[in-house]
């Protein structure tokens, strides 16, 4: 059995979370609240040391790049929500972030999309390519909502499309089952190999 304090703490956390399987209980809640608290504290301290300090302290104040004053003011305006009646000031920062995000989607997502479309123009010379092409076209038809599904051609296409989507979801589901076990396995190794020293 391990004598490492760290391992013991890891084991207590692992068992604590696993007790949720029996039913929700006070022991589990300690860890549930801890993870929210821990990650919030971590993120903020990280952000301060790696961003706020170098950019405000070094670049702005020491090197004189005063353009950083703009995001600093925008950022401070976010906190106006704690002053009754002035919360709307935070919208400037939100507008900046949302507009910039939308610009990124419009600017950068078209090329990967075109790559996908380009790869769908394949020569229909093998059975695999025919199935692939058929499933691409029909699954698109299934998601095409601007034309009524009652039209016979659309009905047929979207039915096959539904099968294609179901197969895709089935493949995802099969993988998801394995994925969850892949994550559980190391926890079991911790309990039995590292902590109890059995097998391994």
């Amino acid at each position: 059995m391990s004598t490492d304090v760290g391992v013991w703490l890891q084991v207590i956390c692992t068992i604590g979370v696993l007790t949720y399987l029996y039913k929700e209980n006070w022991f589990w809640r300690i860890f549930e609240y801890a993870i929210v608290a821990g990650y919030t504290g971590y993120s903020l301290a990280y952000g301060y040391h790696n961003y706020i300090k170098p950019f405000i302290g070094e670049k702005m104040i020491k090197e004189g790049q005063w353009s950083f004053l703009i995001p600093l003011i925008l950022g401070i305006l976010l906190y106006a929500r704690f002053v009754s009646g002035w919360g709307w000031l935070g919208r400037y920062a939100m507008a900046y972030m949302i507009g910039y995000g939308a610009g990124y989607t419009l600017g950068f997502d078209i090329k990967p999309l075109l790559g996908q479309i380009r790869a769908s123009f394949i020569s229909l010379t093998s059975i695999n390519n025919i199935i692939l092409w058929l499933f691409i076209v029909t699954s698109l038809a299934y998601f095409f909502f601007t034309v009524s599904k009652e039209a016979p051609a659309m009905k047929g296409l979207s039915t096959v499309g539904k099968w294609a989507v179901m197969i895709a979801l089935g493949a995802s589901f099969g993988n998801t089952i394995l994925y969850r076990y892949n994550l559980l396995y190391p926890r079991m190794k911790l309990l039995f190999n590292t902590w109890l020293g059995l097998g391994g």
């Binding site: 929210v36 608290a37 301290a45 507009g99 999309l113 539904k162 994550l183 926890r187």
Partner: protein, 207 residues
């Protein structure tokens, strides 16, 4: 000031990215997007402080008003601030801060994600039924992928892995691409609405 200016800022920022993406002129001196990227990154972290303040406010109120589970709220606030202060003093890579991260936060996070293995097993038994043709297709695919990915498939029927690889690379790819193209188009349409100033939900909330 309250609605028009934020909308203009929003539209302007979207246009800046699109223009610099499609009319890109390499210029070492004039790196406009680099500056805006840095601003965005800085804003992102300044915004995170809201989380700390909000969590503290909500949980202190829960304690004051003796809401259900208020005892845990004390724990949350104390641990959050203690860890925050520790990580501020020695950075998150500091010996004690890292020790807490490795031995306390990491196992909790990993085990929470692993819990779903139990639930997905129970759900497969209770709910995964071949009721209709569509459900049967989904079930069969999942079954083949499940066994084909593990070493077990090849043990039962040699070549099972090959069948799994075929399903993944042919019919699955077809279906997934339909879904993916739909996702891209949806994302682009939503972003376009923001850039045209039609989508202004972000103005809501704070009055």
């Amino acid at each position: 000031m309250r609605k028009e200016l934020p909308t203009i800022i929003c539209i302007l920022m979207a246009v800046v990215v699109v223009v610099s993406m499609y009319f890109y002129v390499p210029n070492e001196k004039w790196k406009l997007m680099d500056m805006f990227d840095n601003w965005y990154n800085l804003l992102y972290y300044l915004a995170m402080g809201l989380g700390l303040i909000n969590l503290t406010r909500i949980h202190v109120m829960a304690v004051v008003k003796r809401r259900p589970n208020w005892v845990y709220s004390i724990w949350l606030v104390l641990f959050m601030w203690a860890y925050f202060i520790l990580a501020m003093i020695q950075t998150v890579d500091g010996p004690q801060a890292d020790w807490v991260f490795q031995n306390f936060l990491t196992p909790i996070d990993s085990t929470v994600f692993a819990l779903l293995a139990f639930y997905i097993t129970s759900a497969s038994f209770r709910a995964f039924r071949a009721r209709t043709l569509e459900a049967t297709l989904m079930l069969l695919t999942a079954f083949i992928v499940l066994l084909g990915t593990s070493p077990l498939g090849d043990l039962i029927i040699p070549g099972w892995t090959t069948a799994k690889d075929w399903i993944l690379s042919v019919p699955n790819t077809g279906g997934q691409r339909g879904i993916q193209i739909g996702i891209y188009l949806g994302g682009l349409a939503a972003a376009l609405r923001v850039m045209l100033g039609l989508e202004r939900a972000y103005l809501g909330g704070a009055r």
